[in-house]
Symmetry: D4
Subunit: 248 residues, 8 copies
């Protein structure tokens, strides 16, 4: 239930269109619903502008299905991240139009018509191997009602590939830059655009990459300004932040 839905409900009560008892029922599991193994935060959208997202890692298929079922009953769009095919199979049983984004490891279900703002989010990757993280970001941004421009494989080892796409990047309202290995791309982009850059280190690489630490540290200590960083491989977090900025 978002702010608008809540307002409408209260107006209906005021105008006598809705029985108090019905209103009470509708509000009864505000601000959260206890499912035993989880307490769904219904209040989140009112408080933060975004509905609850399901973090699939460490949850059983049965648990995810129950949470999806409840959230669907509230009329929400669904986004579940870090899910696998087993979880999707279970969710699919209760929702035929659920979409499994395989490389992104996400499930989405649309229940509300998107209201896209004019402005876009650019999702930029250093290499081809960063695509799964970019996909998680793009899927997230889309389900949160944003238009996305995806620009792939413009890493610093062939920096002219970046310049070729620079105008496109500059048109976005906020830029997500995704890179593994040394994670240098956000520094270069940050020095070239006048928009906030959200940097996502990826675990792409080997050896002294240490599962993404080298890229993470590189982005945190960037010599460019206007850059902030999210967790390693956290395409979702970057897109969520970008969506917030895009909708300001």
């Amino acid at each position: 239930m978002n702010k608008k839905q809540l307002q409408e409900l209260l107006y209906s009560v005021r105008d006598g269109k809705l029985e108090i008892s019905d209103a009470i029922h509708a509000l009864s599991d505000l601000p959260f619903k206890d499912l035993g193994f989880a307490r769904i935060d219904n209040h989140r959208e009112i408080r933060t502008g975004y509905p609850e997202v399901i973090f699939g890692q460490g949850k059983t298929p049965a648990q995810v299905k129950k949470i999806v079922k409840f959230l669907l009953s509230r009329g929400n769009n669904i986004l579940a991240t870090r899910v696998n095919a087993d979880i999707f199979e279970e969710v699919n049983k209760i929702c035929e139009d659920a979409v499994f984004h395989e490389t992104a490891r996400c499930i989405t279900i649309r229940r509300r018509e998107p209201e896209y703002p004019e402005t876009t989010i650019a999702v930029v990757t250093a290499g081809t191997s960063d695509l799964p993280v970019a996909d998680e970001a793009a899927v997230t941004a889309e389900i949160l009602d944003n238009k996305v421009t995806k620009i792939v494989d413009v890493g610093v080892a062939g920096i002219h590939r970046l310049f070729d796409r620079l105008e496109e990047i500059r048109k976005a309202r906020v830029v997500i830059v995704i890179a593994g290995m040394e994670g240098a791309l956000p520094s270069v982009v940050g020095g070239l655009v006048d928009k906030p850059v959200i940097a996502v280190p990826t675990s792409v690489g080997y050896g002294a990459n240490f599962g993404g630490i080298s890229a993470l540290l590189g982005m945190l200590t960037s010599c460019a300004s206007g850059i902030s960083v999210v967790n390693i491989d956290n395409g979702f977090g970057a897109a969520y932040m970008a969506s917030m900025i895009n909708k300001l």
Copy 2:
């Protein structure tokens, strides 16, 4: 030289108000000025919307003075971060109205009238010991023409202190949350506001704090969404990012 100044110069040429030779001279050290030990990036403001900022650490007082002198000659506002009293003394010799923000370790010099947007940036700290970083953020945000609301010492160990100020925080367009030790405050704030949160870990603490690593890791792995992170103690970086967002 910002975009507006550049446009005016070019119009003057077109309209015959400025000699070509004078225009050439004015443009001659675009896009950067080589000072021997440094190459000042004059082009930065046109490219990224913000003028060059001086990172004082590792520079001698004489070097900082020379860079300030050059930037002043271009009509820029000055911000120098990570400076000490020795550097200020030297800068003060060539600019009487330079201001030394001691706890923030910054020097600022205003040369252009501020044009504040309506919206504000909230700067929130977990503890009193985080004040120097908050001051660096506030000084930076101000010189970049933003209005700042500072809210101090509302850490999670006494979480009611935060709730008391929540309405104020929610009014800001973007929120900077600064915390040392376990760095939990951004997670709590991120779950309570519908604005982007920029988290700044500080080196406040001891032992397993490891100079801010515990706070940094805590913020990167936050269970709340809508949070991105800058380097340890990097009040400047957070404010720069926040300013970009505030002015979108």
Copy 3:
């Protein structure tokens, strides 16, 4: 053999109800029993108030079975942690009423009637994915004769879910707080209750979580007081400590 059993044996000797030779036999493998690959610490309960617990990791099913067999012969309750289905299958052969707690990865066998104290232990988790660790804690606390209140998924990103259960938590004599990711929940709980808090970091998360390090560091450097910490994912250790406190 606990203190009470030992006293009774000695009284029996004094009162002539027990032959010295029988007493010697009963006491013969005090204070420990050598099984070749393990030396069972029979003396532990007399010394520390608790019988030996079996740490299953790194032991073969055959080894665990032999230890269980010996401990059962002493009339002890059995708790084996970090076990898998293979080990349980083996143990089950010699003890039909052995219980396998799958998510908790524990085996329990009850041989003595529980004597519960009035007071309870609260087991609180930040998320659904922390449930296996919470289960290990709950199983351990129960076999050590404690009543447990389990409160799940009240993490700081939706902190009102915590406030809803606060009264229940405050009623406990000691509180176990389990959290992965940034591990912020113990700090918040610690600032809200007047009971000792035992914090358990979990390995739930990814990237900069580093297998639970971020949560561990966060808990060690908590700004709240009255918190102490056990190893990552160590639900057993937290419950053992809590049981000691609960029975003081």
Copy 4:
């Protein structure tokens, strides 16, 4: 203001002994007092049973003095940790009976008569060099109204020194064990007593000790049960936890 004081105040209002306006004034800065650079948590004692403690590190002498002044005006006992001589000098100006515990780096001021429980807290150290941390623990435990037994230099390299004092340690209700280097003492003590053990790693050592990490990791991974751990050198935190347990 603790619970008892609050009750008395409310009874006085009910019984007409206190003017409403005076009561309002007395309650006016509940639950916290904003000093500009700090928000004193007056509510803490009611909530957690203990008044606010001042963490001196990163605060200026002037800031600490102001906080002390305010807390004294509320009739509280004062404990300030991680302070130096400069801070004490400033505090001493407004409170002649302030006591500076030099090795413990603490200031204490007594304003309420202690009400000691019968039981004691044992503070045990592995070496002589661990004394400052032990002193911080002892000073903290005392100002929180506990009786303390201090046992020094009984580290595992000469383990008979420990056995000699074991009976004394066993008499305590809760045991704080402080050790640097490999931090093995808590494991040994934990295997010998039937009371909760709070382990404090210290930064005593060099090389692979890494400022206390080796002791910290050793304590977290202890093979003994009934041990929980606080931050490196955190004598205060251990004593606070121990006091909570001692007063249950």
Copy 5:
């Protein structure tokens, strides 16, 4: 070929019992034999008193077989460590009396009669889960012609189990102490015996154990003297060192 064998060969030459051409052939691949993928160090025994040992990890079964074949042709005892069943199967084809020590992950082949010194090596473990490392140490010590006393599961959480075996340990000429988790046992043993202690950290444990780092650091920073340390899980290295000391 050891020193004695070399001397005999040279005497045979001097005394005319051996043709020069035959001697040349026998000496021809001194000091090493190039197998293409490996250069076997025949000279090692003369130089260091011990023949080449095969480190199986990272080698193919075929490679190990070829090295074994060559070494056997030189009349050496064979020790191959870190091998698996596949490697053994291959080796077994060329040597029927090869012995596979499964838990120790070693292959041994005896070709020379053992000449045991009078004195023994004690191999002591903290827990049952440390047995594989203890077995690697025992197998190594035996093939290097030492008598071994194995004492298992005497860790510090039940320290009386150690005291019971202390006399046996004291009789050894050198003591190998193997422990995971916090690795405290070597410190305790080191404080109780007057013989050199070689400490072996194991990767037994979880969480903050970090694959044996906690035990390793604990042993390196031991407060006891007379202890030195080898790599995590390196039972071979400890036994090799112990054998050197035992034979001095």
Copy 6:
């Protein structure tokens, strides 16, 4: 397309041998070709002297095949590193003479006749287990048109094996030294030859080797001069650098 090819094309245009429209077509995807999931850097050879190399890790077989197909259409030699059998199978479908170097995990396809310089690159390994990295280096060096001398298993534990091959090593123009465990070999070689040494740490080892960190740190802090280091297990990077030096 390399510099020479480009020159020829331009001469053809100048001399009227090539239609402008054909030249435009030939140049059309200079400086890169966008394949959707990747942007192939055609310009690289002109800019850096070497064609694009395919980093297989994190790419699907289909993606690698498409990139190979495009690069073949440009007449390039192909080198794909970090590939597995699945990728090779796919590539093999479009190119029968593709070669799969199994231990090196590389695919090579020759399209241009090699032009070897006189001088050679020495590839030296400390142990047999370092062979896969050595093979990656050798395959890379060969496809980049260098002659390679491979010297295996001359690690410092039997240093006479190195001296035996020293003359061969000294004849090379640049030396690649590959070692795991403590990574000491480059220091020894660096002190014995008058040629640049490129050190490659490998992940061979266990325990405190930490996946190659010990070798990496050892090489970075070498007491010998004339050594520089590439990433752990990065045989490709070392050979690429060596080839650059060999062709100067």
Copy 7:
């Protein structure tokens, strides 16, 4: 009091040469003496063959003086390590013949005639900067009654310097090898001698040396056998271990 002294005392009692009361007095502070801040382990020599050594770091000059005074009263040789000039000054007041070894940071006082074994300990360093650690080792070995051969600056970057001294090193019964930076020397020495090698990493170096970690890891993961390792800069620990071995 060592074993011999204890025996003599008991014989004297048996033979009536010593009054029981005097014997009791002499034995009264066996097995340790409580000085309040320290518990001196008189029993250590009987138990481990060596008297108590004073670890100066973290102790005040007054504390060290008191411990020295007590130990002198027992007729012991004195060794205090990690001391500074302030401590020496204090100790010198009560003992004129105390010797301050400045680079070794040790104080020694001889009270018993040395009884040197025939065999020697070799102390070998890689560089000149390792000398302080070598001096600590040599001073320790000497006061524990060993003859020492010191061989300086034979690091692997100029390995012929080592070969020149190899015969001397081989004559020792046990070899201490001290190295900073990459710590490669013990591996080379270990491959060349048939005696146990005790490796001491030093903090000599900078950057990726990380205060001695690179040398420590290198030594722990050495490819040579017969090497064990002590803490960074722990010359004392190496010499103590070496002395134990030398006297077997």
Copy 8:
């Protein structure tokens, strides 16, 4: 003594121009000279092409002076790195023309006429604060007889500053790229030039820079090819390697 000097000496002997006894004297401390605390490696130049360099850190002024004195007596150029003013003062006493390079922390003394090759070494820095490391590299390269082009402050945040100097960089035979913070510059340069790049991470930065680790890891995991890395702040090592390459 270099190869040429050695040849001349031997020719003089052959031609009767030099007495054998004099030749013996000249060769007497070949291949090294034992100064007691150091063994000077005279043989190094013959072996590696470069004379011994003095690493000043950890050496006393007196020790450095003695080594300089000896090396001067051999007619060598002198380079001492990591020295301070105290050391220079001492060296200056025995050599008036010694030069102290303060920011580079080096002493140089020229004794042989430089023989510069035609080609140059480029020394490129990301920022002004990297200058001390660049100076160490430049001083080293110069004393080893190379011509150096220094290009300062062309970091990736303003990447057009780099393009401006690209032609100059491309003219060099080998490029040293020095950067702190995220260390991204070598990746960008490596993608733009066809010469070997030696990357030097610096400790410039704060927080998550961890004394240069972030830059180091970034360079090791660079996505560009043709890059190898030396230790943090190791300008000397980079220049030494570059000089070797420049003179091939």
